[in-house]
Symmetry: C2
């Protein structure tokens, strides 16, 4: 009962922290995005009024046209096989840009079952790959230390975590560099895209492989397609190895606690 | 080395499975969404041609108007505080509908740091809450079994997992029922929304709390706002408890393996 109480209090404290953090975030987003938004809205409304006047449209026809255009941008171009592969990856990785929508009911039903089976598989695969990457990195770092004639050649979890954080930053920066070449984005916007993708938030305001030139010659851009896929897979693998280390730590912490509990009960 | 080999082979097998699964998904999505898409595109193109003709627009002015309208729908209404809270939740839960965009650079920079600190906190909170829910459910199920005079009153992990799966389905169905009342969606679309949200894919093709009536009287809809938030928090907690059970199982499996490895080395 003492342990249960303690765990309840810890959980409650965590929940309070998270809610406070959510409210702080809400305040800041509110403050940062409010004024520029109002400006932008007024400018847009003036332009719309101008358009309606120039082309002799009623409000009703304008609304109809807006609805049509919204639909059009959603179904921008034909699904090709590599689009579908990209889509499957975006579903299983839980990124979900929403850059294309499933318009049929059978597509949606398939998507539900596909995700129900695929997501656990994806998580186990990345958990396993992450664990392998940790072994590989430990081996490489130990060799490096030995070649530098350091006394302590054993690799701690902390050192692994730092290496993986650095690796994530390298991947993000390389990604930002390449994306800013191929997409009409600045370096910062490309970095933002990479960050939002690898955290699997996937807002969908910036999505690679969507520009219009693309349809013309896929062969020319094939290497870019593979780069984008590699960015997602490698980036998520590095994050999975960090998660693997952290999860092992959390579970070790809990099992230590459980052991203490057992000892206390035996007393 | 034998164990390392075995782990490498297992990881390779998992990777092959996942890629095969991605390709299968790509094939099915390709097949399901291609024909309806082509139909829809042709219909849209005819309507656009009609519009351009009726309102005397050149292709260039039409393209300008499309761009403007795309912008407008993205910044549909003013950010209010509860919008920002909703946005923060969508970021930290890794759902990322993209139903509103950060248009300022400082907004984006804040978002990166907010997520870097907040996501680990969110994961630890849900891991902890999930573990508590597991304890609570074990207790409730054990009492239930005792009151039914069953011989075996101990609760296995399997029974907990089944209970949580049932609970998830109940949450999804209740959610689908309420969403189909408040949003212009069918029951199936509402269910699809709930599934895509709780898996944290968050495509953003269906997003709650976005309809236009909403601006008028928030007080009237406040209970709906809280319902939507409760749906996300409760749903993710139930999933977190399932994940908690599965993670403990995976780690137990790995630590058993490590133990075997040690014993083999000692022989
Ligand atoms: K997501
Ligand atoms: K998303």
């Amino acid at each position: 009962p003492f342990q249960v109480q303690k765990k309840n209090i810890r959980t409650a404290a965590l929940i309070v922290c998270t809610f406070t953090y959510l409210i702080i975030g809400a305040c800041v987003f509110d403050a940062l995005e409010d004024a520029p938004f109002t400006d932008r809205k007024h400018r847009l409304e003036r332009k719309f009024a101008q358009f309606k006047h120039d082309h002799n449209m009623t409000n009703e026809t304008f609304r109809q046209l807006s609805d049509l255009i919204m639909n059009k941008t959603i179904v921008r171009h034909k699904w090709k096989f590599y689009d579908s592969f990209y889509f499957s990856t975006v579903v299983l990785a839980l990124i979900g840009y929403g850059h294309r929508q499933l318009i049929t009911s059978r597509g949606k039903i398939f998507c539900i079952f596909y995700a129900m089976l695929g997501i656990p598989m994806w998580l186990i695969t990345f958990q396993s790959t992450g664990e392998r990457l940790n072994s590989l990195l430990s081996y490489v770092l130990a060799r490096l230390k030995r070649s530098l004639h350091m006394k302590q050649t054993k690799i701690t979890d902390g050192e692994l975590l730092i290496t993986e954080s650095l690796l994530s930053i390298v991947i993000l920066v390389i990604g930002a560099f390449v994306f800013s070449k191929y997409e009409p984005w600045s370096f910062f916007e490309s970095f933002y895209y990479g960050f939002i993708t690898l955290t699997t938030i996937g807002f969908g305001d910036y999505v690679v492989l969507l520009n219009n030139h693309r349809d013309k010659d896929f062969i020319y851009h094939a290497e870019y397609f593979f780069f984008c896929m590699a960015f997602i897979f490698l980036g998520l693998t590095v994050l999975a190895s960090s998660m693997n280390l952290l999860v092992i730590r959390i579970v070790a912490f809990y099992s230590q606690e459980r052991l203490l509990e057992k000892l206390r009960q035996e007393e």
